[in-house]
Symmetry: C2
Subunit: 205 residues, 2 copies
């Protein structure tokens, strides 16, 4: 079924909006809109308003660039977090992924992307200047590079290293190695090679 | 990555709303919301408003129950359509599918579902009374049952037949047979059996 003609312009508009989302085709968009049509009007109004509020009311933390309902995010505002350790990540999703481990007690710095010449993203498109300013201002002991283990991630790591190595701070990256639950047979050779070179003393946990 | 903690309540609300759609999980919902966040605020506002307008401004045609921007839909309002032939369909999607064939010149009657005891849908949940009233009022020559070829569709066809056969109108159903482009080898036996029994004189097209 193609949708050459819609019985309603309002319906068509809503379908077009949903179809503009990544991975949502016109058939799926139509199915989603039909689902909304079957709901209570309060329900649908709340749905629409939650989208409108996204842009009107959401903030990006002035310190770490994380998403927030306030000017300074909960993490930067938390007195218990170690402000001397900054974990540099690509995106808000990565902040959430690390927060979910409940292992990190420092604060974050969200770059807003990684250096990717193919996509036309250079260092000036990312929040790198503000990171260097934080370091320059002092009070930072350690910067953790927590970027993807891709070529773009490695490039960004290297660029950050070049910018920050002149300051007297510790620069670290996430440990690379065999993931928990992985079988050695199916681990790629680069990961396995690094895991052998960076082997750790055996600890019973 | 699970989402136990969101950095923003507004973000969480939007993700929850998207995740309430059929076939959209929390990860997908989050990806969709992040896509919206990266867009212009005008764009996002239009998206949200298109959803709110769905309930506030969309009508269901008073005659055929089809979706419409006006009280009477374009099809029922069209003077060129034959008002004596009513095609009974399950849903608005089916109206659109038949309209796209450009083969039908009559009008529609949308039942809003089919009889399905398993889902708790009985005749009184569907727009069957209003269909009978239309027939009773006169001026109808033919009712076409254009329902799914499922057990529920057959049940509904039978119920409609029982309700409408006492009136002097023609009751028809869609032709069943081998679909265009189908190979006989892979056609199910019931379809093939009906196609043989209901064979037509050969016509060169």
């Amino acid at each position: 079924m193609s949708f050459t003609e819609f019985p309603s312009k309002l319906l068509e508009n809503a379908v077009n909006e949903f179809a503009s989302l990544p991975g949502v085709g016109r058939k799926t968009a139509f199915r989603l809109v039909m689902n909304l049509l079957r709901r209570d009007s309060d329900d649908v109004k709340r749905f629409g308003e939650s989208i409108i509020k996204l842009h009107g009311e959401i903030h990006y933390c002035k310190i770490c660039n994380n998403i927030s309902d306030t000017e300074i995010c909960n993490i930067c505002n938390d007195e218990k977090r170690e402000k001397t350790v900054i974990c540099v990540v690509e995106s808000i999703q990565d902040v959430m992924a690390i927060e979910n481990t409940r292992q990190f007690k420092g604060i974050y710095h969200v770059l807003g992307g990684i250096i990717s010449p193919i996509d036309g993203i250079g260092p000036s498109d990312l929040k790198i200047d503000s990171l260097e300013e934080k370091v320059k201002a002092g009070g930072i002991n350690e910067i953790i590079f927590a970027l993807s283990t891709t070529m773009e991630g490695d490039t960004t790591n290297y660029y950050l290293y070049k910018r920050l190595s002149k300051y007297t701070i510790i620069l670290t990256t996430l440990a690379r190695g065999v993931a928990i639950g992985d079988e050695l047979e199916y681990t790629d050779e680069i990961t396995l090679g690094r895991a052998i070179n960076n082997r750790n003393p055996y600890q019973q946990t």
